[in-house]
Amino acid sequence: MNRRLRWRKFVSNFMLSMTGVCAFVAVSVLFFILGSLVYHGGTSINWNFFTKLPSPVGETGGGMANAIVGSAKLLLLATLFGVPIGFLGAVYLAEFSGSKVAFVVRYAADLLNGAPSIVIGIFAFSIAVHPFKHFSTLAGGFALGVMMVPITLRSTEQFLLDVPRTLREGAMALGASKWKTIATVIVPAAYRGILTAILLAFARVAGETAPLIFTALGNSYWSHGWNEPTASLPVMIWNYSISAYEDWHRQAWAAGLVLLILILVINIMARAILSRGISVPR
């Protein structure tokens, strides 16, 4: 083997190992994040955390009960707003529309999807806060819902289109009308994918902070009903971590751990549902 060939082989082995290092580094970041959250926040997850309200500045022993409930309310609103639009819109695209309309709707959805979350926050502010002159849970739910729409729409459309022709034709040949076919055959066939899409959209907005900053704002106390500003986990994490108080930092870590576990669990569940196999034999 001559020198040049030896060099080339050395370069090859070296560079390929380096790519392995890159992959290893990238993946280990995930575990580092989880590990750090567990290390710094694990001990702070206690009964207080889940049941107490935030204590006044400087005092210890408070919790994030209102933020947890607040996040739940916001996510509920977001789902109620975003999922029907995304789902039914996708049904329209996959089953009824012509290609021109479909193009416009898809393009709009992609625009919405690509908009930075802070811009969505400005939008929600203009529509749901400014005219009413106050911040509210509804506005926050609207902001998050808007973010859920494009994710739900595009994925659902994809899964509906993936349902094999033969299934549709079989149902129609039996005399089922279009909407019956959709409701009783096509959607059930695609339900795994649709559920996954909804879960992933949910997990995505569960962690969003920016759209909430000037819609739901925040609240040190319980938020009553839907018209008051409300605390939420992500916003609490933000507020607490940039504050100067050790105790708040500690709680921010704990909240981060809770939030991340929630999001990761939903993500893993969603993928498990999808990979459990297609619900329609091919």
């Binding site: 992959a23 639009i85 709009a108 919405l112 690509g114 930075p116 802070i118 811009v119 994490i237 993928r271």
Partner: protein
């Protein structure tokens, strides 16, 4: 049956040959109309978004015009607003992020697409996808409590000692600043580069690599000189995508960038980005002009990400298309 069926049934699709009323009766027309309304509302939301951004910044746009983009001053008291420091901060942090993320991301993608056996590749990709799902505020949390001290105690002093003659690495080491924000951003956008590049590399036809190997290339040569160039458009697309993400990133950046609207050659300097100033000041903005200037910043951000995302999509589509065309040639 119904009066509508006096026309002969055509050989075309079922829906086309039935009249409006028979479809209405069977509920199809209602279903179509209902779902159309929902689909249309997506378009309405988007149009409304653009409208609100445009309209909500009209005062600022008319007052400052194009000078908005080159004015350094951001003074709420005297109502003087210029976007330059934020554009600068956004650009600098994004560039730092890409400089770090692109080699690492492409390297990892090469490993996943060319070297790792399918099962390993899929498992690692799964973890990368989970990484992409981590919310911005959690990156910010780690950035603030772990990366910033690290930067302040170790990395920045080390850089100063070795490369301190460059204006890039001068000035006091606070830990916060452009460099730190760029590093945190890099970690956030790597998953996007990896996922898309990996897909694009996997779509390169097998016989490209085989032809290179059959000519006596080493594995690295066949990957780097043939497979990667074949996929280069798609990889560019992944970089644009990552850039679009980096531009719009709000929370993590605002937590580590230092929040001082400065323009400085030093990467150690604190600064601010477009998204971060909006996040920090919007809810306290008093006065129409103040608020509208912030909205104008939002409009700028929206347009930038819109262009980048569009370009990214075109590039990625072009490569995967070319791969499948070659395979069918």
């Amino acid at each position: 049956m119904s009066t509508a069926s006096t026309t002969l049934p055509s050989a075309g699709p079922v829906a086309g040959s039935r009249s409006f009323f028979s479809r209405l009766r069977e509920g199809d027309e209602i279903a179509r109309m209902i779902t159309f309304v929902f689909a249309a509302s997506v378009v309405i939301l988007t149009v409304l978004l653009v409208f609100e951004l445009w309209n909500g910044s009209s005062l600022a746009r008319h007052k400052f015009g194009l000078a908005f983009f080159v004015t350094r001053v951001w003074d709420p008291v005297f109502e003087q607003f210029g976007a330059l420091p934020f554009i600068y901060g956004t650009v600098v942090t994004s560039v730092v992020a890409l400089v770090l993320a692109v080699p690492l991301g492409i390297g990892a993608a090469i490993f996943l697409a060319e070297l790792a056996p399918a099962r390993v590749s899929d498992t690692l990709q799964f973890f990368i996808d989970l990484l992409a799902a981590v919310p911005s505020v959690i990156y910010g949390l780690l950035g603030l409590f772990i990366v910033v001290p690290l930067m302040r105690e170790y990395v920045q002093p080390a850089l100063k000692n070795t490369l301190g003659f460059l204006p890039l690495f001068q000035g006091p080491a606070y830990g916060l600043g452009f460099l730190t924000a760029g590093i945190v951003l890099a970690i956030m956008v790597i998953p996007y580069i990896i996922s898309v590049s990996r897909e694009v590399l996997l779509s390169v036809p097998r016989d490209q690599r085989e032809a290179a190997l059959a000519l006596g290339s080493t594995r690295w040569e066949s990957t780097w000189k043939v497979v990667v160039p074949f996929a280069r458009t798609g990889i560019m697309g992944s970089i644009f995508l990552a850039l679009a993400r980096a531009l719009g990133e709000t929370m993590a950046v605002s937590m580590v960038i230092g929040n001082a609207p400065t323009i400085s050659a030093s990467l150690f300097s604190p600064g601010d980005s477009i998204a971060s100033i909006i996040a920090n000041q919007f809810s306290e903005a008093t006065g129409e002009l103040y608020t509208q200037s912030l909205i104008e910043l939002g409009l700028v951000l929206f347009l930038l990400t819109f262009i980048l995302n569009g370009l990214a999509r075109i590039l990625i589509l072009a490569t995967t298309q070319r791969g499948s065309d070659m395979g069918n040639a």
